[in-house]
Amino acid sequence: MTTADAFETPDLMLALPEIWLLAMACLVLVVDLFSKDRDHTPAFWLTQFALVSTAVITINLQWGVDATTFSGTYVADDFGTILKVAALGLGFLGFAYSRDYMRDRGLLTGEFYMLSLFAMLGMLVTISAHNLLTLYLGVELMSLCFYALVAMDRDSPRASEAAMKYFVLGALASGMLLYGMSMLYGTTGSLDLATIREAAATLEDNRILFLFGLVFMVVGVAFKFGAVPFHMWVPDVYHGAPTPVTLMIATASKVAAVGLFLRLIGEGLEPLIADWQQMIVILAVLSLLVGNTVALVQTNIKRMLAYSTFNHMGFILMGLLAGAPGGYGAAVFYAVTYAMTVAAAFGVVLLLSQKNFEADQLTDFKGLNERSPLYAFIMLLLMISLTGIPGTVGFYAKWLVLKATVEAGFVWLAVLAVAGAVVGAFYYLRIVRLMYFDKPEGAGPQPSGSGGFRAVLTLNGLAVLALGIFPGALVAICMAAFAP
């Protein structure tokens, strides 16, 4: 299969989303070079067009398909389509929210758009990978772009420190992932995930070697998730990076991490579920504990969202470890809706930020209701969705995951997660209290930003409510993707 004699000309049309996105990224590179526009308007619109058109192509070509191309290194299937469209949509939101912020800080460069587009490409490649080599290259492509994007603000020591930590720890995690992959390759003699799956189902003497590789791969994947105890980079990177970059890392890259897990562990090593389930349980429990307790004492909203990410990663891992189609579907639904909610939360932070002013302290939200009832209401929706109160989409996400966890026989884990969510309610609802019942110190930051930004943010916030009232369609799509 992997010799040149059996080579078949690849079906390029199947991989059109990636090819198209690469071509568009290169086009942005050239157009921005020759554009005289100081706000990089052509790059902005081309980037948004690239994301939307790639999403359309993905839906048209890959939904309902289950096929591989490029000699089995690329796969197109239903859940890949969902994750890709979600990642592209989150990228769209990120770019829509970030223009004013980046312009005010002198960071609005063409490279911001190019590197983000290449990061998007890395996510798509990861989600569609069907070979250890492509999987690794996709993850690296995404990570390398993010390392550079975090360090973008060269005059900020905090950003440089965050980038350095992210880079060193990320390189270590990549090393772990590669080491695990090399063990798998040594045991099975193949890089192809389908072959590895077959080999895992018929394990004999070399079971230990397989598990040996599995441990290292779980570590690498957990790092990309930011799951405790591989979470040290998350708060510093969230805090230090420019907020639009934080938005991308907090949303789209988490969706890609779910794709990485589903491809590598969920699909490739599915026969070994009894073994990796235990490891993921440990990660999920630690994430739930650390996420909810440490987030309580944060005064910076970016750090608070970073710690609360662990809580949500714990939930996503709970869905993934359940293993059955229901668990995977719940995890994908959780990841997509969580990312959408957090994107809007960072959008509000960006909306309140002004030139030479970061609205990233919790006190900046004091009395927001008096200054801007609309955005106070949207922030209220986002916070109760993250808490998991019925009426918003966060409730359904948590409910689906808990259902899958209980069905998989982890009742105690579900109880722990619910207890954690109750603790988590405190720090989310604290923001609601600040917005509605506290008086601001001084004038407080006013919402700023262009009309387009505000419109998209409002729609994003209301989507959290709309999906909470009518979640059926999205749930059905996520579940259908994993239906046997």
Binding site: A4, S71, T73, L133, T134, E140, L141, Y147, A148, A151
Partner: protein, 203 residues
């Protein structure tokens, strides 16, 4: 005999790798890294991957490490500060490292990696074909997608490196070739009509 040579190279490799992180002088550390690369290249060639071995020497030793040495020599690195944490964190780092090494030895040493039990790779190397020819036959066919991805990663590296380093700061001296080329005579040469001094003519 092959086994003996293998152990020689492996021992030097581990020694060099240890020296890379413990050497006092960063230039020495870089030189030890070169030594480590050479030994791994030799090991690869012994394993039948002569193309990879030669590329490792050409690319890493020949290009990357030379650049690296230049950078190390040009930067004024404060060694005392760098080495500060080494001993201080050793008490926690060393036990973890020892536990990991022992665990790995238990797995690897349990006979599980016996070549007889492991499957042969996807590419059983025929006696008459070289490693290079085999690589060439699959690189642009079977592995064309990963190959293109690697190219994209290099493009990203170029963009990121330029973005992070090419910036105008106050106080740094730089030339702008575009402005230098576009310079006109009027920018540099100022013609002034000097009034002739009436009282004290030189003639």
């Amino acid at each position: 005999m092959t086994l003996f040579i293998f152990y020689c190279f492996a021992a030097v490799l581990i020694f060099a790798a240890t020296m890379v992180i413990t050497a006092r002088n960063p230039v020495h550390a870089a030189m030890y890294l070169v030594l480590a690369f050479f030994n791994s290249a030799a090991l690869w060639i012994m394993a039948g991957a002569e193309f990879l071995g030669i590329v490792l020497v050409l690319v890493y030793v020949g290009a990357v490490m030379v650049l690296f040495l230049f950078v190390v020599m040009m930067l004024d690195i404060n060694l005392e500060k760098l080495r500060e944490g080494f001993v201080r964190h050793l008490y926690i780092g060393l036990p973890i490292a020892v536990v990991m090494v022992v665990q790995m030895l238990l797995v690897v040493g349990s006979g599980i990696m016996d070549p007889a039990t492991l499957p042969s790779g996807d590419l059983p190397i025929p006696e008459d074909a070289g490693n290079t020819a085999l690589l060439g036959s699959v690189l642009y066919t079977v592995y064309v997608y990963p190959f293109e991805l690697a190219a994209v990663i290099l493009l990203v590296a170029i963009i990121a490196a330029i973005m992070l380093t090419l910036r105008r700061r106050e106080g740094t001296k730089h030339q702008d070739p575009g402005r230098q080329v576009k310079v006109r005579k009027e920018d540099r040469l100022r013609t002034v009509d000097l009034p002739r001094n009436q009282q004290s003519g030189s003639r």
